[in-house]
Amino acid sequence: MIELVDLTKKFKQMYAVKNLNMFIERGEIVGLLGPNGAGKSTAISMLSSLVEPTSGDVRFENNSILKKPAPFRKVVGMVPQNIALYTDLTAEENLLFFGRIYRLHGKELERKVDEVLEQIGLTDRRKDVVKKFSGGMQRRLNIGVAMLHDPEVLIMDEPTVGIDPQSRNYILETVKRLNEDRNMTVLYTSHYMEEVEFLCDRIYIMDKGNLIASGTKDEIKQILSSEKTISITMERLNDEFVEVLKQNPQVNRVTTGEKEVTILVPRDANVFSEIIRLAESTGIELNSVDNKTPTLEDVFLHLTGRALRD
């Protein structure tokens, strides 16, 4: 349905996106993962015909979007990363406004506004001014606006940034429902692995403008088939302990959290006794040592040597 062919965007001397190749089939939810500055937003701006690429092409139903954007624009709904709403207007007024610019009028417009408000759970708050909404409600309305004209393709640029877990779940469920009930094709960008794991059939991972991995969730996790992830929690993080772990020849990568250290080691390595020994030698009291199932986060760590939210 949609194809990105060697898509490149260069700003002065810097590549924001370099030779990106992707495809999206009708009815699937595709995740585009990467940390901040990976080039996700630039990629989807080019995909949605808002930014002209330096080179490459975007094709929709085998026709170039760059040459003829109108047919694609007709079927695409865009959820930008920012709250792209008039905050002095009410939720209903915003929907009426964006509905009108999509040439919806009269009863049809009213019906669509009611339907979207119902879908995003804001029917009771339709008369409230948007600036008085919580972050989560604003995000929901931000999505609702993109759904007014019944798009076939929904492009969502980090739609859950900065909201509470309850609103995030609501949004994720809404996206899932839209895909299942209406066979809506969704491109979902995020730097939250768990969202992408929950929603997406296939995943593309970007870093520094490059595509570094792609495939289904299982295929991506297979990248880690030769390694396993071990999570070590403790009362207080100790630099000396982290340093000795890094110097251990069996440990491939080390990342640290507040009270947690995650290490990647070869799949057949037995490092539990070694970890306990190192903890004792550095005077650390361990709370737990867990052998974790690999996650997309671990894959990203393996591929780039950094955590996704760095």
């Binding site: 624009r73 865009m78 930008p80 792209a84 002095d88 207007l89 007024e93 610019i101 001014v129 993109a146």
Partner: protein, 368 residues
Amino acid sequence: MIGILLAKFKGFIRNPWTFVIFTGMSMLMAFIFGGTGVDKAYVPIHGDEKIKDSFIGQELKELEGFQFSWMTEEEIKEKIESGKAEIGVVLGDNDFSIIVGVDSFNADLVQQIISGIYQEKLEREQILLAAGQNSSDEKNILNEMDLAMEQPIFEIKSASFRGEGAFVYDNSLHRVFGFSLFFVIYTIAYNVLPILIEKRQGIWDRMILSPLKKSEMYVANLLYSFITGYFQVLVIFLMFRYVVGVDFHGRFFETLILLIPYVFSVVALAMLISSIVKNVQQFNAALPILAVSMAMIGGAYWPIEIVESKFLLMLSKINPLTYGMEVLHGVAVYGYPMEELLFPISILILMGVVMMGIGIHLMERRHV
């Protein structure tokens, strides 16, 4: 396009404070500095009782625009030394002298007026002398003459306002025009700014993806800015014309019409600024600097005629406010016909078209 306008006006009704604040500021400043139109320049004057009761005294009493206050010569000097008066006048039987404290344009004007009165006095005396009548008929002759002067067979009027160094100054109108044209820059600019904000927020991206044309998006936004800006000046002018009672010399309607090119050029200027700055903070920093500079060298605060620096005068030639003031003064104070105002109007329209063109071009290049 109508949809965008409707949304903008709804937003305006919910949040009219930018408009209200700048309209209020314009009115307040014009009111404080310009008064109600009855302000007269204070001029202390000395002359003996005979002169005070004579033709000269009567003429000075009837003069509009100056408040002559009789006192001793010493008192005049004191007033000037303490800065309470700019100039003072000492009247003699056949001549007068002017004591100048501050070399302002009022000094020339007072000298011109009093010379005129003395000349008229001399003419009357010559007429009486030529008539050779006795004193009882003097009154009749002079009355006959005044009557004849009031009802002349031919009325000849001549006026020249573009002469070197001479200009007519109506303080009240100047302040109303000056502060209106100055503060409307802010209102218009803060209504154009949302284009930049909406582009950053992604609202414009949404509209670009819709069937809406980009030209409609620009026209709707700029039209809204124009309407609010024009409405602000309209409210201020109506207020000063009908509530405060400032005299527009019968050209109120023309003033409102000829305001249009200025408002258009300011909308274009705001568009240009929005396209150059990188963010709202830069816009907020640049706007007051630009607006105040424009007001200073464009004659909004004080008459451009008193600016002597050639460099500032040169800068004023590329300032829309200079031409805005020229048009409004031209129509209301000088009573110029339309042909006389075509030059500043054309400049304003040209500036508007050029700035709008560059602004939209830069905006499109930088922000897609």
